[in-house]
Amino acid sequence: MKNSQLYKGSLNTIIMKLLEEKGRMYGYEITQKVKEITKGELNITEGALYPALHKLEAEGLLDVEVEKVDNRLRKYYKLTEKGTTETVNRLAELEEFIKNMQTIVNPKLSY
C-alpha cells in the first residue's frame, strides 16, 4: 500500500466497499481491483491486506467460502449481514471525513 497512514486507516472500508459491489472476492482480486480503479496509484501489499481480511472475518463482518480453482484452494470473502450494515456506517464516516478534510485543506472548493 502507498506508504501513508491516511490510506492505512481506510483499508478496511476500501475492502468492504469492494465486497459490497462485487458480492465476493479473493485476496489477490482485491489488490488488482484497487490497482485498476486507482490506475496503479494505490497498491495494497500482502502484509496489509491479509491481516485486515482476517480481522474483519474474526469480527464477524466477513464470511468465507473455500473452493478449488486451477489446482489450488481459493478463499473467497463476502460481507455478512452485520458487515453490510457496518459498510454503510463506515462509508458514511469516511465521506464525512473527506468532506471535513476538504473544508480544512481547501476551503474554497468545499463551497
Binding site: 485476496g27 489477490y28 500482502e46 491481516p51 482476517h54 486451477d70 489446482n71 484452494l73
Partner: protein, 206 residues
C-alpha cells in the same frame, strides 16, 4: 498460463519452509502467489521458476510480515469467548455450577471436594488437549489454534492460585465455581468455533 500441480506444490513447500505453518493461512497465500506468478509469466514471457523467483525477491518481506502478524492475534479470540459467554444457557450453567459447588463444599468440606474438582479440571484439560492434538496432528489451522491457548492459560491460573483460594470455604466456592465454569464454557465455545470452521471451510474436510 495456469500453473501445474507441481508448480503449486513448489510454492506450498517454499511457504511452509518460510514459516507458514497454518494450513488455512498458507493455502490463501499459495493462491495469492500463484495468481501473481501466472500474471508475471504471461506479461513478461517467463518460465515458472524465473517468474516465481522474481516475484519472491520483490515481495518476500511483505509476505513474511503478514504471517508474523498472526503471532500477536490474541484480542479477537478473547472477545469472542466473552461474547459467547453472554447467553442464557451459559448463565444457567454458571448458576448450576455455583449452587452445586456451594452445596458440595459446605457439606463435604474443601479437602474432599476442592481437590476432586482440581482432578476433574486436570482430566478435562488432558482429554481435551489430546482431542485437540488429534484434530491438528496432520494439519494445523490458525482458526483452531488461536483459541486453544485460552484453555492453557486457564489451566495454569488454576494451578497457581489453587492453594491460596482453597484455604477458606467462601473463597473455595467462588474460585472452584469460576474455574469450572470457565473450563466448561471454553469447551463449548471451542466446539462451536470448530463447527463454524468446518462449515466455512467445508471443502477442506470433504
Amino acid at each position: 498460463m495456469k500453473l501445474s500441480k507441481e508448480s503449486i506444490q513448489s510454492i506450498d513447500n517454499y511457504l511452509k519452509h518460510e514459516g507458514f505453518v497454518y494450513f488455512d493461512i498458507r493455502m490463501e497465500m499459495v493462491d495469492h502467489v500463484a495468481n501473481a506468478v501466472e500474471e508475471k509469466m504471461d506479461a513478461e514471457n517467463l518460465n515458472f521458476y524465473d517468474a516465481f523467483k522474481s516475484y519472491m525477491i520483490a515481495h518476500k518481506k511483505e509476505i513474511v510480515k503478514q504471517n508474523k502478524e498472526h503471532g500477536f492475534y490474541f484480542k479477537e479470540p478473547i472477545l469472542n469467548f466473552i461474547k459467547f459467554c453472554f447467553n442464557p444457557f451459559i448463565f444457567l450453567m454458571g448458576g448450576l455450577i455455583f449452587f452445586s459447588l456451594n452445596f458440595l463444599l459446605t457439606k463435604f468440606g474443601i479437602q474432599n471436594i476442592g481437590n476432586s474438582i482440581l482432578w476433574v479440571i486436570l482430566i478435562i484439560y488432558l482429554v481435551f488437549g489430546f482431542w485437540h492434538f488429534l484434530f491438528t496432528r496432520k494439519k494445523m489451522y490458525f482458526y483452531v489454534e488461536k483459541n486453544f491457548w485460552i484453555l492453557f492459560v486457564f489451566f495454569h491460573i488454576t494451578n497457581f492460585f489453587k492453594s491460596s483460594f482453597n484455604s477458606e470455604l467462601q473463597s473455595a466456592i467462588i474460585f472452584n465455581s469460576l474455574i469450572l465454569f470457565l473450563f466448561l464454557s471454553f469447551i463449548l465455545f471451542y466446539f462451536s468455533e470448530i463447527r463454524k470452521f468446518r462449515t466455512h471451510y467445508e471443502y477442506l474436510f470433504e
